[in-house]
Amino acid sequence: MSTVIENHHDDHHHGPAKGITRWLYTTNHKDIGTLYLWFSFAMFLIGGAMAMVIRAELFQPGMQIVEPEFYNQMITLHGLIMIFGGVMPAFVGLANWLVPMMIGAPDMALPRMNNLSFWILPFAFFVLLSSLFMEGGAPNFGWTFYAPLSTTYAPPSVTFFIFSVHIMGASSIMGSINVVVTIMNMRAPGISLMKMPLFVWSWLITAYLLIAVMPVLAGAVTMMLMDIHFGTSFFNAAGGGDPVLFQHIFWFFGHPEVYIMILPAFGIVSHIIETFSRKQLFGYSSMVWAMLSIAILSFVVWAHHMFTVGMPLAAEIFFMWATMLIAVPTGVKVFNWVATMFRGSITFETPMLFAVSFVVLFTIGGLSGLMLAIVPADFQYHDTYFVVAHFHYVLVPGAIFSIMAAVYYWIPKWCGNMYDERLGKLHFWLSFIGVNVTFFPQHFIGLAGMPRRYPDYALQFADWNMVSSVGAFLFGFSQLLFLFIVIKTVMGGKKATDQVWEGAKGLEWTVASPAPYHTFSTPPKVD
C-alpha cells in the first residue's frame, strides 16, 4: 500500500532527475533554457577568443602573429559562431525559460522536440570547429560564404561547414516551431494576443521569420553542396550559372536574419525599461505593430547588402527607399522607450544600465545603417570598416547587451539568488567603455577607406586600429568577470524575493524564486 502511495507521489511531484541524464533526457523548458544559455555562453567565449586573435593581429600594421590564411579562418568562424552559436541560442534559451512562464503555460508545446533541437547544436559546432584541424584548414571565405569563393576556391572542409549549417538550421527551425505552437495554443485564459508580454510578441514574430528564412539558407548551402560535389552549376558561370544569384539567395535569408537577432532584444529591453522606470510601457500596441512592420519589411530590402554588384538604378532606388522606411517603425520603438523613461522614478540597477545603453548605442548603429542605405554613399562605404562598425554596434551593444541585461534581470528568478550589484555595475562599465573604444574608431578608419577582412593595413590606419584593439581586449576580458558573476550568483548570494524588482510586472514574477521545476501546472487566473 505504501509503495503505491509513493509511486503516486513520484508521478506528480517529481523534481529533476539526478546526474548527467537529467540534462541529456530533459524535456523541462527550464532545464533546456539553461542548457541553451550555457551553450551560448561557451560559444560566446570561443568566438570572443577568435576576435582577440583578430584584434591582436590588427594591433599593428604588418603581419605579426598569424598567417593570412589563418586570419581568414578566424574572421569566418568568429562571425558564424557569434551569430549561430552565440546570439541565436541565447535568445532561444531565454524563450525557453520565459515564454511558458510569461503566458502561464506548464511547459513548451513540444517538449521532446525541444530536447532534440538543443542537443543537435553541440554536434553542429563540433563539426564546424573540427574543420580547424583538417587539411586545408577551416572555412576561410567569410561568414557570408559568397560563391565562387565558397565553392570553386573553398578548402575541402567546406563540406563539413555545409552540414553544420544544415544542423544549425534544423535546430533553429524546430525551436521556432515549438515557440509558435506554444504561444498560439497554450496561453492562460484571459491572455489575448494584444495582452501578451512584449518579449513573447517579439519571439512570436522572430519564430515566424526563422521558419520562413532558415529553409532558404538550407537551400543555398545545398546548392553549394551540389555545385561542389555533383557537377551542377547553380553559381558557376562556366556552366550557365550565376554567382550573383548566390548573393540574392543568401541575403534573402540574411536580412531577415539580422532582425531575428534584434527583435527579441526589443522585447527584453521593453520589459526592463518598464520595470525600472516604474511606469507602464508607453505605446504597447505601437510596439507590436512596429515589430510586425519591421519583420515584413525585412523581406524586401535584401539587395542593399549588394548595391555594388552592378544593379540597375531602378532596383537600387527601390531597395534604398525600402531600407530607409524601416527607420520609421524602429524610430517609433526608440521614442516609445524614451517616453517610458520620461518622468519615471528611474533606478539604475545593472539590467537597466544595459537596457539604457542598448537604446543609445543601438540607435547609433541604426543611424550608421541609414547612412549605408544611401546608394551613392554606400559605394564609398561598402566593404570598409564602417560596415564593420555598423553591424557590431547593432550586434554587440544591441543584441548582446540585451542578452546580458536579460541575464541580470531574470537570474534572481532562475536561481533564487541576487547577483552582486557592485560587480554587475563594474561589468557594465567595463563592457560599455570597451565596446565604444573598440568599435567607434572603426567608423573613422572605415570612412578613411580601410577595407574589411584583411589581416594587414596601410600605415595611416595604425593609430585607430591600436585604440580599437585596446578596447577589444578590455571588452573581451571583462566578459570573464561576467562569467564569474554568473557562477557566483548560481552558487549563492542574497536570497531574492518572489517579485525581485519593485516595479516588475508579469506572470513570471508571481511564482516563487527560484522558479519551481514545474510552474503553472494549472493555468493562472488573468484578468
Binding site: 521556432s176 498560439m184 532558415m214 529553409p215 537551400g219 551542377t232 552549376s233
Partner: protein
C-alpha cells in the same frame, strides 16, 4: 497536445519544405526576372524575327571586349575592337581564338551586354557562344557572331559593348552542361 496545437504544428511543418523549395525556385525566378526586365545584361535568343524592320536604321558603335576567366590560357580577342553598324541590319563580327596549350581543351564563352537595357535589343542569329569550342593543341579559329540591333533601341544609346568571357570547361561533364544549356535557351 490539444487540437489547435496540432493544427498549428502541421501548418508550420508544411511551411518548412515549402520555403526550402522556394529557395530553389529563386533560381528560375531570377532568370525569368532578368529576361522580363532585361537586367543583368543577359542575352536571350530572339523568337520574333518578323518584327525586325530593315530600313530606317541609325548608326551606332558596337565595341567588343574579350576576357579570359581565371586560368584559361587560350588567346582570345576580337578581330575588330569597334564596329560602326546601323540598327536593323545584320552584321557579322569575328573573334580570334587559339589553344596555346599542348592538350585538347573545351571552352565555353558567356556573353554579356552593357548598358544592360540594350541587351533585349541585341539579337544574335548565330553565335559561337551557343555551342562549345573544342580545339586541338595549337589549333586556332575565327569564331563568328551574326547579330542585329533592333531599330527600337532607345535613342539615348549610341554605344553598345558586347563582352565575352571564355571559360575552360574541359573538366566538366559535357552532357550536364548541354542539358542545362538547353533548359536556359527554352
Amino acid at each position: 497536445m490539444n487540437k489547435g496545437a496540432k493544427k498549428t504544428l502541421i501548418r508550420l511543418v508544411v511551411a518548412v519544405p515549402l520555403m526550402f523549395a522556394f529557395g530553389f525556385a529563386l533560381v528560375p525566378l531570377y532568370d525569368v526576372f532578368c529576361e522580363v526586365t532585361g537586367l543583368n545584361g543577359k542575352v536571350f535568343q530572339s523568337e520574333h524575327s518578323d518584327e525586325l524592320v530593315i530600313d530606317n536604321g541609325r548608326d551606332i558603335s558596337l565595341q567588343f571586349i574579350s576576357t579570359n576567366n581565371e586560368n584559361m590560357p587560350w588567346t582570345f580577342k576580337p578581330s575588330d575592337q569597334v564596329m560602326n553598324i546601323s540598327t536593323g541590319k545584320y552584321h557579322t563580327a569575328t573573334f580570334y581564338v587559339k589553344n596555346t596549350t599542348n592538350k585538347k581543351m573545351t571552352a565555353q564563352a558567356v556573353p554579356s551586354v552593357a548598358p544592360s537595357n540594350a541587351a533585349e535589343y541585341l539579337k544574335k542569329l548565330e553565335c559561337f557562344c551557343f555551342e562549345q569550342q573544342e580545339l586541338m593543341p595549337g589549333e586556332e579559329a575565327l569564331l563568328p557572331v551574326k547579330l542585329l540591333v533592333s531599330n527600337e533601341l532607345p535613342s539615348n544609346i549610341k554605344n553598345i559593348i558586347l563582352s565575352y568571357t571564355i571559360f575552360d570547361i574541359t573538366e566538366y561533364n559535357e552532357d550536364e552542361i548541354l542539358a542545362h544549356h538547353e533548359m536556359e535557351m527554352e
